[in-house]
């Protein structure tokens, strides 16, 4: 063999050996999560610390948008695969449990450990707990720029008067903004008119006077008072608030640190009350937490337990409350001084007091999907309030019926 050929063979073998070399053979615990912004940075930091402290297994995290994560998780789980842990909002639980994609959380965590959590910390469905939370929240609030608003309005009429006055300023484009594409943002207006998405028997209840009045209020804000933009989506609403062209926005806890980083001197308040009905504009509130893939083998469960206990521990929830202003779901931490250290948490809790818990029901998927299109048409002014309410009801009912096909 010539020298050149020998070298080529040697190179080939080297590449082959290098290519075959794999990462250290330690079990991996994979987590799909939907944490964004500062919460994601915090999460990645604590995972790195966990990995530094453990040689016998490694935790890998992957960000996926909520809908994508849930859908892919179900499909992967049905195929016997998927990550060991999924982090997401509590309303995912019904779909995940119904499709047998996750296992009851009490199969993984002991009763003693679970006893530390309050009712918001353990998400149940069909009389079994399926998710352990690290926070409760996800609730919308009235976020205002203190440069323009000294005292937040208490009622919708006060809000309209205040924002109308502010809109006279040349540097203000609109008085208020929010995401027009997700019906999640419509619910506060529905609840303050006495409406809700389903009745006591779980049937959709959207074709009501409350829905019509809620739609009319929004259309009045847009057309009569001209306080909200003609069209907008989440990113545009965020950008206009951060650029101080709009003095107030309706948004949730995931956005607050971002406002701080943008240099906005912001305040949080309850979304105002409807003085006519005496009802607060109540957003939905839900916990966010971890569920365990049903395919995790028994021998791996102790490792999953170790990761879960680390991520949902009292210390972790206290650190999250301090750094991220999330509301803990461990009773001891919720009642501790941590809650008093952060004024944002107090205001956040004040909104939660007048919020509606997110229903844990698989029909919520069809309700959100069925409401989304009509909500967009309402916001575009393409349908009247009455037509909007009828369309919402029809679309939701059709989707629920279609699901059984």
């Amino acid at each position: 063999m010539s020298r050149l050929a020998s070298r080529l063979v040697l190179c080939g073998l080297t590449l082959l050996v290098a290519g075959c070399a794999s990462a250290p053979d330690v079990p991996r615990i994979r987590i799909w999560h939907q944490k964004i912004g500062p919460e994601r940075l915090f999460f990645e930091r604590v995972i790195a610390e966990y990995n530094d402290a453990h040689d016998d297994h490694v935790v890998e995290v992957l960000y996926r948008e909520n809908e994508e994560a849930r859908n892919l998780f179900v499909i992967a789980s049905v195929g016997g695969k998927g990550p060991e842990l999924l982090f997401g909002p509590s309303d995912n639980v019904s779909v995940l449990a119904l499709t047998e994609s996750i296992m009851p959380i009490d199969r993984v965590l002991s009763d003693e450990y679970l006893a530390q959590f309050n009712d918001e910390g353990l998400i149940g469905w069909n009389d079994r707990p399926w998710m352990v939370a690290d926070q409760v929240g996800n609730h919308l609030m009235f976020v205002y720029n203190k440069r323009f608003i000294a005292e937040p309005p208490e009622t919708l009429s006060e809000m309209i008067a205040l924002l109308t006055e502010l809109k006279q300023r040349p540097d203000i484009t609109y008085g208020l903004t929010w995401n027009y594409t997700e019906p999640f943002f419509f619910l506060p207006f529905l609840t303050c008119h006495g409406g809700w998405v389903m009745d006591e028997e779980g049937r959709p209840s959207l074709n009501t006077d409350a829905t019509v009045n809620a739609i009319q209020l929004i259309l009045d804000l847009r057309d009569k008072h001209q306080l909200i933009p003609g069209t907008t989506d989440y990113d545009t609403a965020e950008a206009t608030f951060k650029e101080e062209r709009v003095p107030a926005i309706i948004n949730g806890p995931w956005s607050w640190t971002g406002y701080e980083q943008s240099g906005i001197d912001y305040g949080l308040a309850r979304i105002p009350m409807n003085a006519d009905t005496g009802l607060w504009c109540a957003p939905v509130v839900s916990s966010k937490g971890y569920s365990v893939n049903v395919n995790v083998p028994d021998e791996k469960l102790p490792l999953v337990r170790s990761v879960l206990e680390y991520l949902t521990s009292p210390d972790m929830q206290a650190a999250m409350a301090r750094e991220l202003s999330t509301i803990p779901v461990i009773t001891e931490i919720r009642e501790s001084e941590v809650m008093n250290e952060n004024p944002l948490l107090q205001r956040s809790l004040s909104q939660i007091e007048v919020s509606r818990p997110m229903p844990i029901d698989p029909k919520m998927r069809q309700i959100w999907d069925g409401m989304r299109g009509p909500y967009q048409l309402i916001m575009n002014g393409a349908v009247t309030p009455q037509e909007g309410a009828e369309l919402m009801q029809r679309e939701v009912e059709k989707r629920i019926a279609d699901t059984f096909l």
Binding site: V74, V95, G230, T231, R365, R372, N380, A382, L405
Partner: protein, 302 residues
């Protein structure tokens, strides 16, 4: 003995051919035939969120449900419009630019070629999301252009059904014409220069030359590309999905494939979505066969 020897050689050649073909056959069976057959079975099943693990074959009821779905016919019509408008513009713009680039007087041809291929070279989702940003009502470049320089009212590109669908079509026209341009450029290179010289001698106008020389000789190159383009455009979920943000407003900007995707992965209606995807397959398969036969697209031009 000679016969046996010949037979043995032939047999060896056959075995060798089989050996060479085997990996491809295995691959095609694994990634095309098996998923296709599985989809056929799913389309006859009741697989949905309530029966995702314990589904059964229930017959043709999902196909019946597809044709009973009121939105199916509306979306089929939109898909045909989407495909037709896109392909017409892809071909017209593509061939026009190719003919232009083929002219001797054009200076800096390589640079023009690179520039015109750019929309195709960029990842589709980046282009689609960029266009979505440009269609924003208040801050998008298109409306700023329309209001500032054309003195017209801003258009609700992404919030009105017709305009949102038009926005998706405009984006896809932008994305698709370079492919047709590249194919047409290749075809133009193969047309003998003598034919144009002969046409010049006969005193043919540029239009006559295009119609009587260029167009017929481009046909065998362009027709397969058009069929490919039709199938790709008919099934192009990316642009509609990203520009209209999953069919907004109110699911009125769907084409059939985005409707299938939403039914399967948003509503977990796997059986119904599989049935609809089989309907799409039959539509495209039938169209391709008829189009190929009618146009004799696979026959040589010379």
């Amino acid at each position: 003995m000679k016969f046996l020897s010949n037979h043995s050689e032939k047999r060896k050649a056959q075995l060798f051919l089989l050996f060479l073909l085997a990996p491809t056959v295995v691959l095609v069976l694994a990634v095309v035939a098996y998923p296709f057959m599985f989809n056929v079975v799913l389309s006859l099943s009741n697989m949905n969120i309530y029966h995702i693990r314990d589904w059964d074959v229930v017959g043709i009821q999902q196909y019946v449900a597809v044709f009973q779905e009121p939105k199916f016919w509306e979306i089929l019509f939109k898909t045909v419009v989407w495909t037709g408008v896109n392909i017409v513009f892809h071909v017209v713009i593509g061939v026009f630019l190719a003919v232009l680039l083929h002219q001797k007087f054009v200076v800096g041809k390589p640079a023009w070629r690179v520039l015109l291929i750019l929309p195709w070279a960029l990842p589709q989702y980046i282009t689609a999301l960029t266009w979505r940003g440009m269609f924003n009502y208040d801050y998008g470049a298109i409306n700023l252009l329309i209001t500032k320089y054309m003195n017209l009212s801003p258009v609700e590109w992404l919030t009105s059904p017709f305009e949102a669908f038009a926005a998706a079509i405009l984006t896809n026209i932008w994305l698709g014409f370079p492919f047709m341009m590249v194919i047409a450029l290749g075809g133009l290179q193969s047309i003998p220069a003598e034919l144009y010289e002969a046409a010049d001698v006969d005193g043919a106008s540029p239009w006559k030359k295009f119609w009587n020389v260029t167009a017929p000789l481009l046909k065998p190159v362009m027709l397969p590309a058009i069929i490919l383009g039709i199938v790709w455009t008919f099934n192009n979920i990316n642009v509609v999905w990203l520009v209209s943000n999953m069919g907004e407003p109110n699911d009125q900007t769907h084409i059939l494939v985005s409707f299938v995707y939403k039914a399967a992965f948003n509503a977990y209606r796997f059986g119904w979505a599989a049935a609809l995807s089989m309907v799409i397959f039959v539509i495209l398969f039938t169209f391709s066969q008829v189009f190929l036969n009618r146009t004799k697209a696979t026959e040589a031009a010379y």
